[in-house]
């Protein structure tokens, strides 16, 4: 209650309405063996509604930790986290995650997995599942079990089961990292297509420079040890973006150099 009251201060009311997620001074320290390991330090991010943000950083820089905090799976050591002006404390269907690894329920079929989180009258559930099966192109595989479909299809199911809940923010943790190059590109195009149609706000974590440049409105480049946002890069390339275009490759090269440096 208190936090909501605070928000109706003149400054907050005047703030652009489209700001949906606001991260301030986020730190995370894990108790290590004997010492403490500082994994995230002073993360400040504002996300606008409908934005596609890529968090780019090397393995181990704390990307998954950041998403876990945003999702509410683990608490931050310090800092604040506001979604639509309300503090985030617990996991919930307003901030859904597509995990890097397979996190489908293996005893449920494709359509049962997609329907899992949707609490609605049966008819609505059926219609919505139908719609999202079609959106991710899995209508024919509706009654398959996760072990009977490919890795790319599994991630489509993972995407559909959270999109169906219309989350305010979609958190994606290297969702396509385990896929072969061709499937990965298909999935990137699918996500961009769904994003254009459904207008989600997406935080997309990746260690792949080309993927970040292809997807992002804004790239947040992360440092390792401690994990910090070193730089923010706005990608103004028109969509759809061509991986082979000269300008695209130039941006990639620049980022790659920064990532190494």
């Amino acid at each position: 209650m208190k936090s909501r009251l605070k928000l109706i201060s003149p400054a907050a009311a005047a703030a652009p309405r489209q700001r949906i997620l606001s991260i301030r001074g986020l730190c995370k320290t894990f108790p290590g063996t004997g010492s403490f390991q500082k994994v995230l330090e002073g993360i400040d991010v504002d996300v606008k509604r409908g934005e596609m943000i890529c968090i780019l950083g090397r393995s181990g820089c704390g990307k998954t930790t950041l998403l876990n905090i945003l999702a509410g799976f683990i608490p931050p050591t310090s800092g604040s986290l506001l979604l639509d002006g309300r503090p985030v404390a617990r996991p919930g269907p307003d901030r859904c995650v597509v995990f890097q690894e397979d996190a489908l329920f293996p005893w449920l079929t494709v359509e049962e997995n997609i329907a899992f989180g949707l609490r609605a009258p049966q008819r609505t559930v059926r219609q919505e599942v139908e719609r999202f099966l079609a959106l991710v192109g899995l209508t024919e595989f509706r009654s398959y079990l996760p072990r009977e479909i490919s890795g790319g299809m599994k991630q489509r199911v993972a995407l559909a089961r959270v999109l169906i809940l219309k989350p305010a923010v979609l958190l994606m943790d290297e969702p396509f990292a385990g896929l072969d190059a061709q499937t990965r590109e298909e999935m990137q195009n699918l996500l961009l297509d769904l994003w254009a149609r459904l207008n989600h706000t997406i935080l997309f974590v990746t260690h792949d420079v080309a993927e970040a440049v292809k997807m992002a409105d804004r790239i947040l480049l992360m440092d390792t040890n401690p994990g910090r946002i070193r730089e923010e890069i706005r990608i103004g390339l028109p969509r759809p973006r061509e991986n082979e275009a000269g300008h695209f490759l130039e941006i990639c090269r620049g980022l790659l150099a920064k990532l190494r440096g």
Binding site: A71, G72, F73, R90, P91, G92, P93, R95, C96, V97, F99, E101, A103, L104, F105, P106, W107, L108, F116, G117, R119, L145, R161, V162, L165
Partner: protein, 267 residues
């Protein structure tokens, strides 16, 4: 998948019977040739006759004629009560011990010590406590069946991939739904393994319990037959327990598959 062709199917239906058939043939040959004398192991035909009389004979025609159904009912009731008790205690205990480290620390030491005690050492104590009758048998059956059910349930719920709980939490599951829609289905294969092991042991301890001088039951028949020197009836009793044990195992497995989606799909 490639096993679905009709020929493969019929071959698969025959395969489980190959070893029983071979054993029977061997037995037959051993008896016919006189290699194994009848006082050690009677001829299969004699066993068949004894079994027939035990199952279908008119009462009073011969010492054991027609007694089967009464023995069968007594034994089944004892197994059912004992196994039921083991399930009722073993699954919740295993569940909490698998999910709560505190519960596990509290009870696992004690339970694993008790588990090391062979069932037969409980028999004299059980007879003092419960006397001769159904209670002693039910106690022994429940005690023995409890451990595999408890251990497998605990390890099953402990090993559920935590990412499934994260997925459930972000999809908005209530605590109740987390247990019944995620935890139990995910642990189902191991819970079933525990139940099947427990049921098998239940039959073993049934016979132990019935050795104590109860008037009926399959174990009682075996003990009785030993006293009367009716080795054919001992063998009949052994075979019937084997058949019933296997049948109840199949029944349990099918029942679980019928009742739980995860039992059908995770195996």
């Amino acid at each position: 998948m490639s096993d679905d062709t009709p020929r493969r199917g019929s071959l698969h239906a025959v395969q489980p019977w190959l070893i029983p058939a071979a054993l029977l043939t061997l037995w037959f040959a051993a008896s016919e040739s006189g290699a194994v004398p009848a006082y050690l192991l009677p001829h299969p035909v004699q066993i068949g006759g004894a079994a027939y009389s035990y199952l279908f004979g008119g009462p009073g025609a011969m010492p054991y004629a027609g007694r089967f159904w009464e023995d069968f009912t007594s034994s089944i009731v004892r197994v059912a009560f004992g196994f039921g008790l083991a399930v009722a205690v073993g699954i919740p205990t295993g569940f909490f011990s698998g999910r709560r480290a505190l519960v596990n620390r509290l009870i696992s030491n004690t339970l694993n010590a008790l588990r090391a005690v062979p069932g037969i050492s409980w028999l004299p104590l059980a007879m003092v406590w419960f006397g001769i009758g159904i209670q002693t048998t039910v106690f022994l059956v429940a005690l023995a069946a409890f451990f595999p059910i408890y251990l497998n349930t605990a390890s099953g719920v402990r090993q559920v991939n935590p990412i499934l709980f994260q997925a459930g939490a972000m999809l908005g599951t209530t605590p109740m739904r987390r247990v019944f829609a995620i935890l139990l289905p995910a642990a189902m294969p191991q819970i079933i393994a525990g139940l099947r092991l427990g049921l098998g042991i239940a039959w073993a301890y049934l016979v132990l319990g019935e050795l104590t001088g109860v008037p009926n039951g399959l174990g009682a028949v075996i003990m009785d037959a030993r006293m009367l020197g009716r080795i054919d009836m001992i063998v009949v009793g052994i075979i019937l327990i084997a058949v019933l044990g296997r049948a109840s195992d199949l029944l349990l497995h099918q029942l679980m598959r019928l009742c739980f989606k995860s039992a059908r799909r995770l195996s």
